[in-house]
């Protein structure tokens, strides 16, 4: 009797797993992933193809402005009360990822504590390109999410960076035996909001909220979104490969952390998102995006912030980890994984 139940259970688990794996597989046909992998392959083959710097910056601007505008326009008649719980989760996750990451990394052999803190900081922070890729993939499959979800970005990004800088200062003060430098969170918040990525996102949000940008959104920012994302993915792929040799100079444990952390963070966020789904009706698409945000690691605005605030940390370690391993894993494995998981869990 017990054996039969066990057998049936196994079979059901098996079915679910196969179902899940086949869903995962179809996710890999997305052109976003293809451009990312194409970029890696080109760079690995020594191709001279380069996306000009001005075009790359323009792509980032276009994507964030588009995400912001849409958010702003739809937030107009949204119930922002719903945003409270997910925003709180985002803040908590951002802080927790950095704290856990700091002690995990510092415990690994060959990892200097400052470098570990900075790396954990980037993995707590958020990648705009990963978020944009997830948005396109959700739209391709007509998965609904609340318009304010992309606006969770700063709620996770900024706390993560602040915590990282704080931990670094505590550590350095302890090391030098002297007094620790004052960290002024307000200054870091202001500095973050002034960065080009968050500036574009917030400008879009405000314009979407207060003005009537429907025509320029529908005629320009929205239709070009997918195309500029493909170019950004290509650039991130090329960059991932080019930064790989920085990783060769640091401990191998960074690679291990960077490959596992995005998925661990994403899955934890998925779980917390699921709780929000049960409690407040947070949409399945929102749960996926929350997981993507948590699983992503900052590659544009985080590094300069940390380089300026934790100068003694070695950028080869944290940039290599985030750009060369973290982002490709977060995009190529993470996004398909969360979508497939949501299909299995929510029956999308």
């Amino acid at each position: 009797m017990r054996d039969r139940t066990q057998g049936r259970r196994n079979r059901i688990t098996m079915d679910l797993l196969i179902d899940f794996l086949s869903r995962l597989l179809t996710q890999f046909q997305s052109p976003s992933l293809a451009f990312l992998i194409g970029g890696i392959a080109l760079a690995a083959a020594g191709s001279k193809l380069q996306i000009p710097d001005a075009i790359y910056k323009f792509c980032v601007f276009m994507l964030l402005m588009r995400i912001g505008l849409e958010g702003g326009m739809e937030i107009r008649d949204a119930n922002l009360g719903e945003m409270l719980l997910p925003a709180a989760i985002a803040v908590v996750l951002g802080c927790a990822i950095v704290i856990v990451g700091r002690y995990t990394l510092a415990a690994l052999p060959g990892v200097r504590t400052e470098d570990g803190i900075a790396t954990a900081g980037l993995f707590g922070a958020v990648s705009a390109s990963t978020l944009a890729a997830a948005i396109v993939m959700l739209e391709e499959q007509d998965v609904f999410y609340e318009a304010w979800v992309p606006a969770l970005y700063p709620f996770m990004d900024i706390p993560a960076l602040i915590v990282a800088i704080l931990l670094a200062n505590i550590h350095l003060a302890r090391q030098k035996g002297g007094e620790r430098e004052r960290v002024r969170p307000a200054a870091i918040i202001a500095e973050s909001l002034r960065g080009s990525a968050l500036s574009a996102l917030l400008l879009g949000l405000v314009l979407g909220l207060l003005t009537r940008p429907e025509r320029v959104f529908e005629g320009f920012y929205d239709p070009l979104f997918r195309g500029f994302l493909s170019i950004l993915m290509l650039t991130m792929g090329i960059e991932a490969w080019n930064r790989l040799n920085e990783l060769r100079r640091v401990a191998h444990w960074y690679v291990v952390y960077s490959a596992i952390a995005p998925l661990a963070h994403g899955l934890i966020a998925f779980g917390l998102g699921y709780i929000a789904h049960v409690l407040t009706g947070f949409s399945p698409g929102g749960v996926i995006l929350l997981a993507v945000i948590a699983g992503s690691s900052s590659d544009i605005s985080g590094p300069p912030t940390l380089r300026a605030a934790i100068p003694s940390a070695n950028p080869s370690a944290y940039i290599g980890s985030s750009t060369s391993v973290g982002t490709p894993v977060a995009i190529a494995v993470g996004i398909p994984l969360y979508i497939a998981l949501a299909e299995a869990v929510f029956g999308l």
Binding site: Q50, I51, P52, D53, I55, Y56, K57, T235, M236, I238, E239, E246, D299, I300, P303, P304, R307, A308, P311, S312, P315, S316, I319, T323
Partner: protein
């Protein structure tokens, strides 16, 4: 026109700290400086210009300061090296130049 000796301080470092370096230069009493974009190779690896600078702030800049006051030149070079080059990549050196209008520098 008669010509005068002056000193040029050259600083090659990360764009990220440009604002801090120019503040230091101005504090040292220099009347101006010139900035050019730069890439390079040094003890901290290669820094490229041109290709998509995903992290723009990490490419190099070359800052040149001309001053008639050799002491100020030394001070700028020393202070920049002391304050920044432990943690940021960079080099600094001095050159002798000949200027035309000493009141300008």
């Amino acid at each position: 026109m008669s010509h005068y000796k002056a000193t040029k301080v050259v600083i090659i470092t990360e764009k990220l700290i440009l604002a801090k370096v120019t503040k230091l230069i101005e504090a040292a009493g220099a009347t101006g400086y010139t900035i050019t974009p730069a890439g390079g190779m040094g003890s901290r690896g290669v820094r490229s210009t041109n290709r998509a600078a995903v992290i723009d702030e990490f490419s190099n800049v070359k800052i040149e300061v001309i001053t008639g006051d050799k002491q100020a030149a030394n001070r700028i070079a020393d202070e920049v090296a002391e304050q920044f080059f432990e943690n940021y990549s960079g080099i600094t050196y001095l050159e002798e130049v000949e200027i035309l209008r000493p009141h300008k520098f």
